[in-house]
Symmetry: C2
Subunit: 315 residues, 2 copies
C-alpha cells in the first residue's frame, strides 16, 4: 500500500509500505478519507512521537473507509461497511488494520470527507465535555478556540446537551459560523470575563486563557485543557480562588490513552453523538480536501488562521 511517510527532517513523501494484515479481532479498512489534526504537525516536527502500537512514520489519527477484509473473530462489521475511527497514528495511508472495538459505523448523513474529519475531534470533545466535565442541561459552557476542529465539535455537543454555549474565536470572520452551529454568542477572547460565570470551560488555546477562565468560573466549575502549544503552556493559578470555587482544572489528551479508553470513548460517541449526526443536528464542516500526493500543501493549509472546519486527505 501507499502511505504518507515522515522522512528525516520532516520531509513528507508518499511511499510503499507492506499491506497490513488484520489480526483476529481486526478488520482491514480501505481508507477513503483521513482528517488532519495538530498532532500530525507535532509528529512531523519530531515533537510528538507516535504512541506504542502505532507506526512511527505514518501520520494520521482519523480514518474513514470501507471494510475490505476481516480477521477470523471480527464480527461487528461486514465487508463493505462504512467505518471510522480514532487511531494512534497511521491513518494517512491507503489501508489500515483496526481492532473492531475501535471502529464506529459511519452514518449515511456523512460523506467520506466528513467522516474522515469526524472521529478525533468529536471523540475528544465528547470525552472532555461529557465524560470528564460532566456537562449538564442549563449549564453555561465556554469554548475557547471554538472555530478549530475540537471547538466546532464542542460547541455542537454542549449545545445538544442543553447547555448555553459562549464561543470565543480569534478570527472575527468565523463568529457567525460558530453561532450557526449552536453557540448562544461568539466573542473575542478579551471578552471572556464579561460573559460568565461559566460552569464548564473547554480550553483549546492554552495558558493565555486559563487565568481568565478561572476568574470567570462559577462555583464547582470545571476547566478541561486540551492541547496546550509550547508557547502557551505555563499558567499561573491562584489556589485560593481554586479552593473557594471548588474548581477543577484537568488536562486531557486522547492520543496517548490505552486502547480500552479510546474504545470506551467511541462507544459513548456511538450512543450519544451519532444519532444526532444521522438526524442532521450535528454537522461536520470540511474546509478543504487534498489527495495524499499533495500532503505538503494540506499541512500548510492546516496552520492558516480563519478557516472553519477540517482539512481532510483523500488517500
Amino acid at each position: 500500500m501507499r502511505a504518507l511517510t515522515i522522512e528525516p527532517e520532516g520531509v513528507l513523501a508518499v511511499r510503499e509500505h507492506p499491506d497490513p494484515v488484520p489480526g483476529v479481532s481486526e478488520v482491514l479498512v480501505r481508507v477513503r478519507a483521513a482528517g488532519m489534526n495538530p498532532a500530525d504537525l507535532g509528529q512531523r516536527m519530531g515533537l510528538y512521537p507516535a504512541p506504542y502500537g502505532s507506526p512511527p512514520d505514518i501520520p494520521g489519527l482519523d480514518l474513514a473507509g470501507e471494510v475490505i477484509a476481516r480477521g477470523p473473530y471480527a464480527r461487528r462489521f461486514s465487508v463493505g461497511d462504512r467505518v471510522m475511527a480514532v487511531v494512534g497514528g497511521g491513518a494517512q495511508a491507503e489501508l489500515m488494520a483496526v481492532h473492531e472495538r475501535q471502529l464506529m459505523p459511519v452514518p449515511d448523513a456523512l460523506s467520506w470527507e466528513q467522516a474522515g474529519g469526524f472521529p478525533e475531534v468529536f471523540v475528544t470533545a465528547h470525552d472532555a465535555l461529557v465524560a470528564q466535565a460532566a456537562v449538564r442541561p442549563g449549564e453555561r459552557v465556554l469554548v475557547n478556540g471554538a472555530a478549530g476542529g475540537v471547538g466546532i465539535a464542542g460547541v455542537q455537543i454542549a449545545s445538544a446537551a442543553g447547555a448555553e454555549v459562549v464561543a470565543s474565536v480569534r478570527s472575527p470572520g468565523t463568529r457567525d459560523a460558530v453561532v450557526a452551529l449552536g453557540a448562544a454568542v461568539a466573542i473575542d477572547p478579551s471578552e471572556i470575563a464579561g460573559h460568565g460565570p461559566y460552569d464548564v470551560v473547554l480550553e483549546l488555546v492554552g495558558a493565555s486563557n486559563v487565568e481568565s477562565d478561572l476568574r470567570a468560573l462559577n462555583l464547582s466549575g470545571r476547566i478541561v485543557v486540551i492541547g496546550a502549544s509550547p508557547e502557551t503552556r505555563e499558567a499561573t493559578i491562584d489556589l485560593a480562588v481554586l479552593g473557594a470555587k471548588r474548581a477543577t482544572i484537568r488536562g486531557s489528551t486522547l492520543r496517548s490513552r490505552p486502547f480500552e479508553d479510546k474504545a470506551s470513548a467511541m462507544r459513548a460517541v456511538e450512543r450519544e453523538v451519532l444519532p444526532l449526526v444521522a438526524a442532521g443536528r450535528i454537522l461536520v464542516p470540511v474546509a478543504a480536501t487534498f489527495p495524499l500526493a499533495d500532503a505538503a500543501a494540506a499541512y500548510e493549509s492546516f496552520v492558516q488562521r480563519g478557516k472553519l472546519g477540517k482539512i481532510v486527505l483523500l488517500p
Copy 2:
C-alpha cells in the same frame, strides 16, 4: 449561654448570647468539645467571614456534645445521645442548634475531646480523597502536610482504603508519629520527587508544593488542594504536563458548601470511617485542650509547629 466571641480588632472574649432554640428538624446540643481549625484564625483576623446561616461572631466549625432537646420533627437522635458535626461556625459555645441531618453519632471509642476534634478534618479528608480523588486500593497517595489535622486524617483514610501513603512533614519530630498512623514512609517536602509517581496528592500546604506534585504525578493523577494560605497561593502549572498526564488539579473547601453537600459528606463518613473509628483502627490524636476562658492561649498554641493532633476547646 456563654460563647467565645470575636470582638472588634480580633479580641476574643466569652460573652452571654441568647440560648438557641431548635427548629423543626433540629436538635439542641450541649457542646462538650469544639476543635480548632485554621478557619478560626482567618475569621478572627477578619479574612474569612462566617458563611450565610452561621453566627458572624462565634467561631468554631467542630462540635461534639449531647442532645438536650429536639425540635418537633427531629427523629434521628434522642435526648442524651452523643453527637458531633461540622458546622459553618458557632461551635465554640455552650449550646448550638443543629439540623439532625448535619449530625453524626459519636462512637464509644472516642472521648469528648477526641470527638470535638474529629468532624472537620475527617470529613474534609474523606471528601477530598474518596469523593473527589476517588482513591483506589493499590494507589500511591502523597499527603503534604501530614502532621496537621487534615493530614492525620488523610494518612489514616488513604491507608485504610488500601493505598500506599507517602507523608511529607516539615517538622522531623513528627515523622515517627505519621508512620505509626499508617504512612509507608514519612519524608521532608524536598524529597517529594524521589518517592513518586503519585496517583493522588492531598495538598495541604499550598503552591510551594503544587509544581513538584505535578512533576511527580502518575498518569491520570489527581491533586486536591485544600486551604492555600495567602503566602502560598500562586502556583505555576505546566499545561503540557497536565495534558500529557491527563492530570486533575482540584480546589476543595468544605466550609462554604451548602447544607446538603455537608450532610452528604457526613453520611459518607458515617458509612465508611466511623466503623473504623469504633474498631480502633482510626485514631484521633489530641495535642492539647483548653477551657473556653483560655481561648486566647488555645489560639496561640494552634499556630505552633511541631505538634501532632488537634487543639480542642472544652466549653
